[in-house]
Amino acid sequence: MALCAKKRPPEEERRARANDREYNEKFQYASNCIKTSKYNILTFLPVNLFEQFQEVANTYFLFLLILQLIPQISSLSWFTTIVPLVLVLTITAVKDATDDYFRHKSDNQVNNRQSQVLINGILQQEQWMNVCVGDIIKLENNQFVAADLLLLSSSEPHGLCYIETAELDGETNMKVRQAIPVTSELGDISKLAKFDGEVICEPPNNKLDKFSGTLYWKENKFPLSNQNMLLRGCVLRNTEWCFGLVIFAGPDTKLMQNSGRTKFKRTSIDRLMNTLVLWIFGFLVCMGVILAIGNAIWEHEVGTRFQVYLPWDEAVDSAFFSGFLSFWSYIIILNTVVPISLYVSVEVIRLGHSYFINWDKKMFCMKKRTPAEARTTTLNEELGQVEYIFSDKTGTLTQNIMVFNKCSINGHSYGDVFDVLGHKAELGERPEPVDFSFNPLADKKFLFWDPSLLEAVKMGDPHTHEFFRLLSLCHTVMSEEKNEGELYYKAQSPDEGALVTAARNFGFVFRSRTPKTITVHEMGTAITYQLLAILDFNNIRKRMSVIVRNPEGKIRLYCKGADTILLDRLHHSTQELLNTTTDHLNEYAGEGLRTLVLAYKDLDEEYYEEWAERRLQASLAQDSREDRLASIYEEVESNMMLLGATAIEDKLQQGVPETIALLTLANIKIWVLTGDKQETAVNIGYSCKMLTDDMTEVFIVTGHTVLEVREELRKAREKMMDSSRTVGNGFTYQEKLSSSKLTSVLEAVAGEYALVINGHSLAHALEADMELEFLETACACKAVICCRVTPLQKAQVVELVKKYKKAVTLAIGDGANDVSMIKTAHIGVGISGQEGIQAVLASDYSFSQFKFLQRLLLVHGRWSYLRMCKFLCYFFYKNFAFTMVHFWFGFFCGFSAQTVYDQYFITLYNIVYTSLPVLAMGVFDQDVPEQRSMEYPKLYEPGQLNLLFNKREFFICIAQGIYTSVLMFFIPYGVFAEATRDDGTQLADYQSFAVTVATSLVIVVSVQIGLDTGYWTAINHFFIWGSLAVYFAILFAMHSNGLFDMFPNQFRFVGNAQNTLAQPTVWLTIVLTTVVCIMPVVAFRFLRLHLKPDLSDTVRYTQLVRKKQKAQHRCMRRVGRTGSRRSGYAFSHQEGFGELIMSGKNMRLSSLALSSFTTRSSSSWIESLRRKKSDSASSPSGAADKPLKG
């Protein structure tokens, strides 16, 4: 693979000439090759070692190693430090190497994608990485855009092409891009090969919605804007092919510029651990100082006189200097309080947990064949501490599939599924779907379950026919018929597509349209309607209408829109029908469906003529055109006749409501951040049970100015305050409100609230002076929905919560627009199996269904946290118990840095004798079985409150460790000081003492791990018994005659084990030590279990009792749900498409039967489209617009 971009000086401007690689090479622009890997074979060792020694711990151990090489200081042999250090470095290096290998692989995969590049006048297949700036490449339908391209021409008329930008900004509706007119004619390869225009534009940046540049071609200048650009990561849709000129490649593309450098995430336990390690260092220095002072005093008082037998070292000239040296010696000896194996063990445990996530069958998605994947192995225990979840909507909560689910026609509701006996069928027991085979034009993928609707259509029920006629006429969908009968609909929003498809299957097939006509196949016969007007949708109107003239010449207005709006505009004669339909609407809304109301109105010829005239006048008006048009539309859309209502299901991902309910029970707050519209978002909020009708109030913040937003937030807070005051005992909160301590007040809010805020308001709310206010308000609410937010805002919201709440945040999303949020949050989860992989690449965990989140958090996360905490507690305990013995011994050995244990024992204690049992516990332990953690979501709370490992727990462990070390030293000391062996020989020799203490230590810590292990698998047994066995095996081997014969100076303990361990006194000492060390722990646990049991204890106990009592059958009560009517007009497209249709601009010339339709300037639609767009995006790009006119 070619090496990717080197560092270049920052560009001032970018110049790219088409079809001129030589010219472009001068600038050395980055190639289209993407590199996320860190090493190659040659650089691996030095770079990796350099990185590893940047870790404080590793440097510290290197420093210790160097200290040990100074003979005056050295109190241990060099290998006690180097063996663990090398082990740790190797393990880390292997892990880094594997990680990087996979990065190489994924880079290669992306870089080797194929694309068609125009080279020397011929289209050639090239790998993505070989595409250069200035190349012209051809894209085909549904292909990913390989680099940032300037659109030159496309298969569609006027150089239009459609793209889906979900990968980039998460908006799922299609967007239109257009080539500038001069290049749009470059349709064939020969013309393109001769194209030699030069683009001069801005340097690479990360602004997705802006681009400014100029095309110089044939001595003319053409301004370029974002409207002409296709960005990497987009997908070409509904466009057969297009050609583009590469402007930015590889790392310079807006996508890559946006992805930024991956921040290294640390867990809170990591941070705590680092603090604790620093404290321990401090403690170590203190101990060193105490012992050094002791040494100086001892040398001064005793050592000077003892010089007859042991003169001072040549280098030592005073007691003070001796103390100084002994300080360093003790630092070396006592360094095992911060064992190097801590870090590597933590890594190993996390790796194990990651594998468990990868291996989990219950997180494997059968449909998409994707397993869950832990992409980072360093964050697992944080999964057990999550307090806030930030979720994307489209693709995460919903499948982004709209399904025509139910409808109400003339007071009759269709779409309920009944089983054979006539009961409402539950999910999963559905009968066969309705057979649409009578209709050759039917969409095979459309499924409907209620046969009565089709019967009604077949019976010729006029209402039903009118209903579907409306659906087939009143829309802005474009159709395409490649072969006879093969219809493709290009809908701007999936819900509109769903409606038209439904009509199609029920025999009202929308076939084709021209600017002035719509052709519909009604029950087999083609009928062409004359399209008189489209009264398009916008956010205020929340409805759209078409006015058509049928072949008989009658003019009729068809309207569909939000119920809240439309029901007020109906003719009073329909009151009875209205009531039934309203009931149906309530029912649909209660099921979380998006509803639309359909109505029609007959217009007589004269009225229409007069109205059309006034409309024309209004549309030509210079000032307040919008308002005048709106009122004219309003006028005609009144007194309509109700036809019925549709209910569309925005299909949720499987199990979303359950998951959200469960996570809410686990005290996790869920915020939905979506780029979608408010209505859509709120609807989804209801259907996935984030918002419920039991909620006291749902606050909606839609202010456009700072003041409005502030006011709305204030009102929301006041309301919450008021209610809690009435609920509370009359205590006035008003005074507190004025003070800055909002938190304390709002945390006690009674009642359930939800907050919905849109992008405009959010922008204000996130400003520095309001962010706290916003956060407090939002956090007092049970659910928060932010709609119409930009990717940046998503990240800002997450950052805000992270900053002030000190809580663990998790962001979950599927699109590139979620990348920033995923990277910002403590934990990022990507939904995999979708088309895009940007989110997955940026994420720490990925799986294909939102519902797996509950398992990830409540099972894996909880266990990981629990295991890690138990591991850390035990680890600190065992090392303090091990090391502090030296401290006590210091007082009996003249502070001479004599160790208690044999140096081999010191070397092996952490890496052999005690490492595996605790690792096994850290990897396998479970407190309650997995089903229980789902059943009792409250079990998740200790993690959020950080109860299992915090500074207090740490001190308890340390105290236990020190207690153990005291007994470990003083019990054998007391015994040995006076006793002799049974054969009269001395018992209290140094080596026997060392063996006795070491043996009792190993036994005590093994018993302790046995107590800590709650879940004894065969592996735990093997490791715990194995460790003990290995200890004795190594002990006897080290003390054997054979080794001594070979290396008499190294193995000084010859014969010690068999002689010492044959003594009953020694065993009595060991037993006593063990009893005294362990019994208080058992007693303490007993008391805690009885006096202050935590939830997991209770759950275990409950299970035990249940098992005994034989679980009684519990009947689950069915709870009826009350519905509420919610406006469901939720087209996710922007207005203006109607105008596009009427202008005929987006239609193929061949299909333009009537060519005399153009009543207005042909480019005006684009202009107005632009203007509206730029208004909403508040980014005027007028300069770029002008030249397009000419």
């Binding site: 291996w359 064949r369 018992l987 009595l1068 709870v1119």
Partner: protein, 355 residues
């Protein structure tokens, strides 16, 4: 893509975290049982140990002060070859039954200092290379040319008093108590760790070396009568070389040869220690004494371990009783069985209906 389930994780117990297992569950009954059992064990052990420790006899005579004049002589370095003896009479009111061991006990002598402990050469002591003195600083060479044998601070500071126990059969007849000076060491020490260099004559084997500065005679003259107790194999030397763990320690010096009057041990009567005073302890404010004692199966006469067991047993029982009281007190209250589960289930059921 051909294989439908190739990415499906294996359904093994390990990977699905469903390994067969048993969970440790300590019910109150079990814990109380363990506590009571441990308490009983400790109490019994303690009483047995205390009784056996009581059955031993020990007599310790501190001769630092009694032989003060000798100590003075020793403090002057010029008197290093002057012999100074000192006799300490004492009487045994009860006879000492069985094996009687004689120890010397040093107070405040730090045999566990880091540099002291390392200052020896096992290579030399095992007889492989008498000139291997590298690890013996600060007593490696004499005047930087002749290697010292045995080298190092430990060997140099060997306890060199001679203690002879005499028994006054009657007021005029004093006989020395027969004592064995071998058999004081571990088998591994005498046969593995210490070996004389191979040579016909021991003196020749140590040629080219010199004795440690504080020694009065070279290594090969430690016991001229018994070649098995000479050189590195000398038991007194081996005993000294096994360094003590704490600054106060006693080391076995002799044990009773049970012959003649002494087949049953030391009879009651008058005795005296005749000590040739060589080892200076006053210089480092240390003390030395001579100890006579008998042993049982659990070793010497230490009450410590017996007491420790008794106390532990007592406390364990105390704890067990108070825990039982707490348990009884709480029994009526019963451990709460959580009902929150019902809520969760209800919620689940609700969701299912809602879908």
């Amino acid at each position: 893509m051909e294989c439908h389930l190739c990415r499906l994780p294996d359904n093994t117990a390990l990977k699905q975290q469903k390994l067969p297992t048993h969970r440790l569950h300590f019910s109150a009954k079990k814990i109380l049982f363990i506590f009571f059992a441990t308490g009983i064990f400790c109490l019994c052990m303690g009483i047995i140990l205390l009784l056996s420790a009581k059955s031993t006899q020990e007599i310790e005579i501190n001769y630092t002060k009694i032989c003060a004049n000798c100590a003075k002589v020793r403090e002057n370095a010029f008197n290093f070859d002057k012999e100074c003896t000192c006799s300490i009479p004492f009487s045994l009111t009860k006879k000492m039954k069985g094996n009687v061991y004689m120890y010397y006990k040093l107070y405040g002598f730090y045999q566990n200092l880091y540099r002291y402990v390392r200052s020896r050469s096992n290579r030399q002591l095992v007889g492989k290379d008498v000139k291997a003195v590298n690890s013996c600083a600060p007593f490696k060479m004499f005047h930087n040319e002749t290697p010292i044998v045995p080298c190092g601070a430990i060997a140099n500071s060997i306890f060199n008093d001679t203690i002879i126990l005499s028994y006054n059969v009657n007021s005029s007849l004093q006989i020395p108590v027969p004592m064995l000076k071998t058999g004081l060491t571990w088998w591994t020490d005498a046969y593995v760790k210490f070996q004389n260099p191979k040579a016909d004559n021991l003196a020749n084997a140590f040629e080219g070396t010199t004795k440690p500065p504080y020694w009065q005679k070279p290594i090969y003259e430690l016991d001229k009568e018994d070649p098995g107790n000479n050189g590195f194999l000398n038991d007194d030397f081996i005993v000294w070389m096994r360094t003590a763990a704490f600054p106060t320690f006693k080391k076995l010096y002799r044990h009773l040869n049970r012959t003649q009057h002494f087949t049953a041990g030391l009879p009651a009567g008058n005795y005296s220690f005749n000590i040739t005073y060589n080892f200076p302890v006053t210089r480092f404010y240390g003390k030395k004494s001579v100890v006579l004692c008998t042993t049982t199966w659990s070793g010497g006469s230490s009450l410590y371990i017996g007491l420790a067991y008794t106390v532990t047993g007592a406390i364990t029982w105390l704890a067990a009783f108070s825990m039982m009281a707490i348990h009884m007190g709480l029994k009526n209250k019963k451990m709460p069985i959580i009902h929150q589960s019902n809520e969760a289930l209800k919620e689940k059921a609700e969701n299912r209906n809602g879908q």
